[in-house]
């Protein structure tokens, strides 16, 4: 990771120091991927509660409802191509590893090689990986688990919004829309493309680019009326993903207007993003027409059991016709 980012990160680590979660104290940390020069950082996010949704937003953002969450870590940055490509290309992973690739990594299914250039000319180094499907994003987490032994997963929708708000109740965590350009790459300043992660200001909890650059996968099924259901207000709420469409995407992207970057704004995944895939069954791995979607890692403070981890990673593949 470049020096500049590291400097910012050290600062962030000092500011954040640690959070207390009951008896548990979470600290931000750096995860090495052993046997490679790769690493990434995770920010501690304290347990807490917040009002999820927006009374000013679209219908699917209502009603405002109280959500309580356990502590977790969230990646400081959106996942970069640098961290993603060793998963995508097995030979590349082998040739770029300084020691033997762990055996359990062999069991991980790799994405089909993308038919098109999935960077869409927007750049690779330190740029967010993008256009992967929800399934692809989860399988990446599985690969990372095989490489590190640490359970990483996608944020739930509630975790994402909680981390994004970082204690704020307004439409944007930093104040009003006029400051958006200091925090986000969006239609107004992106030049129509992604940018290196971590070039804008972080939020109060040291997390970068939650707004804009690439929109980010959450684990949840997109249900427009979910917030009105009692289970939306349970502790650690989740709309479990059971259907291939739609899943919730958050944060807006380089290609979105300001209003679509708001903390509460929700986007639903769409089968039309695969129309440029000429094959049947369509790839489970790529959305050739969604170069605006990326992913961000989360790690729960309380590690799940091995059985729970396997259940998370090994859900049946739903064919896409």
């Amino acid at each position: 990771m470049e020096r500049n980012k590291r400097r910012i990160l050290t600062l962030v680590l000092l500011i954040n120091s640690f959070f207390c979660t009951g008896q548990q104290k979470l600290e931000s940390y750096r995860q090495q991927i052993d046997g490679t020069p790769l690493s990434f950082t995770m920010q501690a996010v304290p347990a807490g509660e917040f009002q999820m949704g927006s009374s000013k937003g679209k219908a699917d953002e209502k009603p405002l409802h109280l959500v309580k969450l356990d502590a977790f870590w969230m990646a400081t940055f959106e996942l970069s191509w640098d961290l993603y490509e060793p998963f995508l290309y097995k030979d590349f992973e082998i040739s770029h590893s300084t020691s033997k690739v762990p055996e359990q990594v062999d069991a991980v299914t790799r994405p089909t090689k993308p038919y098109l250039d999935m960077t869409f000319g927007m750049g690779k180094e330190n740029h967010p990986a993008l256009a992967m499907t929800h399934y692809n994003a989860i399988q990446y987490c599985k690969w990372l688990y095989a490489r590190t032994g640490v359970f990483y997963r996608l944020p739930t929708e509630a975790e994402w919004e909680y981390a994004c708000r970082a204690g704020s109740a307004e439409e944007y965590a930093f104040g009003d829309e006029s400051q958006l350009g200091e925090y986000a790459w969006y239609k107004g300043n992106s030049g129509g493309k992604t940018h290196e992660t971590g070039k804008k200001k972080p939020n109060q909890w040291g997390i970068y680019d939650l707004y804009g650059n690439v929109a980010e996968w959450t684990y949840d099924q997109y249900l427009p009326g979910f917030y009105a259901l009692p289970k939306a207000s349970l502790r650690n709420p989740l709309a479990p993903p059971e259907q291939l469409y739609a899943h919730v995407i958050r944060g807006g992207s380089y290609d979105d207007e300001a209003k679509d970057l708001r903390s509460a704004a929700r986007l639903a995944s769409d089968p039309s993003w695969k129309q440029l895939d000429p094959q049947i069954p369509k790839s489970n791995w790529w959305f050739p027409e969604a170069p605006f979607i990326g992913m961000r890692l989360v790690r729960p403070a309380k590690a799940p059991s091995k059985a729970e981890i396997d259940a998370y990673y090994d859900q049946p593949v739903i064919p896409d016709y």
């Binding site: 290309y89 770029h96 094959q279």
Partner: protein, 439 residues
Amino acid sequence: MNTDNLKDKRREFIKASALLAGGMLFNQFSFAGGHSSADDTIRIALIGCGDRGTGAAFQALSTTANVKLVAMADAFQDRMDSSYKALSEKFKQKVDVPKERMFTGFDAYLKAIALADVVLLTTPPGFRPLHFEEAVKQGKHIFMEKPVAVDAPGIRKVLAAAEIAKQKKLNVVVGLQRRYQTNYREALKRIQDGAIGEVFAGQVYWNSGGVWVKKRQPNQTEMEYQMRNWYYFNWLCGDHIVEQHVHNIDIANWVKGSYPVSVQGTGSRAWRTGKDYGEIYDNHSVELTYADGSVIHSQCRHFEGTANRVDESFQGTKGKVFLSGGNQAILWDHAGKELYRHPAKGNANPYQTEHDELFAAIAKGEYKFWDAERGAKSCFTSIIGRYATYSGQTIRWDEALRAENSLMPDQLSWTAQPKVLPDENGLYPIPMPGKTKVI
């Protein structure tokens, strides 16, 4: 475009043919072979039931025309089965393919073509000349995937059949879907209207991480192995400069409004050298020189972990343009002022559009599509590119088109031997510039 409405003629003909015995008049009308079912249903045969063929059949059955899939053909039973399952689940009423209209093996195409009005030719490209020639002979309308051939003899066969298809007024669409994609159509309209002046240079790319690979299985004959892992064998695939990069090279030819007079270039197997990867190169970099002296640079490679791009740029005397299959089209003048930017969202699916337009024409009895010749010539541009990188020589279009050496095996059966065979280590002979003869 020829927009003659032949429907009335056809009605008259059907009436007449009810009275007349025999098929003497058949060749005078475009619908001689097609559309002879009792109702107005357009009957489709799918020749090549892989993932792309299945995708093409999905698109054909998703048009608004009154269509029915009536026959399927593939070399392999398992590919037939998975394709039929996907199709019959999705399009229950539109799929009527009982066991007796499913054909497998190398000659399956013959029987399936006979049962249809429209055929979808979607096998690996090496077989296309054979299938296209037969479909034209039988008087069918045709959707055929790119590439349409992998060598000069194949191209000559396609060009000859294309002429006959024109005479018979058979609609032929080639799956160079950028020709049916809105951003390209909008950009080309402007380029042809002179928005960027005379195009004197360009760069076209297909630089990606590569494609699938199928490992050799025990008990496979050499023929079956090559058929399964077809991407890596030239008699089936033509190398990726043909199989994929033809899309971008076709855009160069479209923008120039002509075809190169000569091609030179260089290529190699830099990375993909193992025994799973047959005989094809993993990179080609070639120059296409046109009659007016302008040069378009073409580059394609299958490298992992490198900077990738799949797009086309051209420079003209008044401005420049950037295009990509991701619905992008941007034109600038020489001062850098944007002349046109195509909206990237909300575009029609070009793979669907090519079928929508084809089947609309067929349903109306119109003759509107004669893509075979230009498709063959763009494929041939790619093939010459391969001739150039394999031989290290400058290849002239006219000479290359006369080349006699066919890559096709002398015999097609599961026990027959393809022309390129592995050594005792499972490695195939690799073309070597300066040594390899291509013409």
